[in-house]
Amino acid sequence: ENVIKAPVPYSRCAACVLPFEEVTSHTFESLQSSCHQSCDRHKVLREATERFRMHHCKLVFEKEHQDAAEAERYSTAEPQRSCKNWTGRSEGERKVNNKNTLPERRWRKHNGVTLVPLQRRAKK
C-alpha cells in the first residue's frame, strides 16, 4: 500500500526549483523560456499555455480587425490606411522589449502576422 502511495519520481528543471526571491509574476515566463531543459511537467504546461495565448491573441486580433473595419466603413478618407503599418510593432512588443525580456518574435513566427492596435489608428 505504501508503495502505491509514494510519489512518482520526476525530473526537476530550473523552473521547478526557482526560489521566490529570484522570480516574480512578470519574470517567470521568460526565465522559464530561457531554460532549455524543461522537465516534462513544465514543458507540457508551457506548450499548453502558449497555445492558449495564441488562440486568444487571435481572438483579440480578429475583434480589433473587425472594429477597425467597422470604423473604416464610416470614414471616407484613405480607405487603405489600416494596411500601411501592418508590420508595425505592437504595443505589447514594445513594452516587452523595453523590459529586456523575450520579444514577441516567437508568436509572430507562428502566425505570420503582427498584432497591431488598430483601434488607435482608426481614431486618427
Binding site: P7, P19, S25, F28, V44, L45, T49, C57
Partner: protein, 120 residues
C-alpha cells in the same frame, strides 16, 4: 518574509493567505504592477479577466496558486518552497496538463503535504 514585495489577490483566495502575506510584511498592489499575482480559481471572474488581458497574452504574466503561501506558512519559510511549482494556468490549460499527468504540480504537492500531515 515578504517585505518590499507587492501582491494582487483574486477574490477566490482564502482570507488566511491574504492575512499571512500582509502579516509577513507584504503589501497589496494592482494586478498590472504587483510583483506576484495569486489566485485559487482559474475560473473566478477577476482571474479570468487577467488571463484574457493583453498583459497576460503578450507580456506573459504568470499567476501563481495561493497554495504557495499556505506551503510557506506551514514551513515558516519561503526558501524551501519553489514558487515555480505553483503556476496557475487557465482552466483549459489545466485540463490539458491533467490529461497528460493526471494532476498539476501543486495538486501533487498539496497531496504530499496532506500525507505528511496525516503521518504526524
Amino acid at each position: 518574509m515578504f517585505r518590499y514585495k507587492t501582491a494582487w489577490f483574486s477574490s477566490s483566495v482564502p482570507q488566511t493567505c491574504y492575512m499571512f502575506w500582509t502579516s509577513e510584511g507584504g503589501s497589496i498592489a494592482h494586478w498590472r504592477t504587483a510583483d506576484y499575482l495569486f489566485s485559487e480559481d482559474a475560473t473566478c471572474p477577476d482571474t479570468l479577466r487577467i488571463f484574457e488581458s493583453k498583459d497576460y497574452l503578450w507580456n506573459k504574466l504568470t499567476i501563481f496558486h495561493s497554495l504557495f503561501l499556505s506551503a510557506c506558512e506551514k514551513r515558516q519559510s519561503v526558501k524551501s518552497v519553489s514558487i515555480g511549482q505553483y503556476v496557475l494556468p487557465p482552466a483549459s490549460v489545466q485540463d490539458e496538463v491533467r490529461k497528460v499527468f493526471g494532476q498539476l504540480i501543486w495538486e501533487r504537492n498539496n497531496e504530499q503535504s496532506a500525507d505528511e500531515h496525516s503521518l504526524k
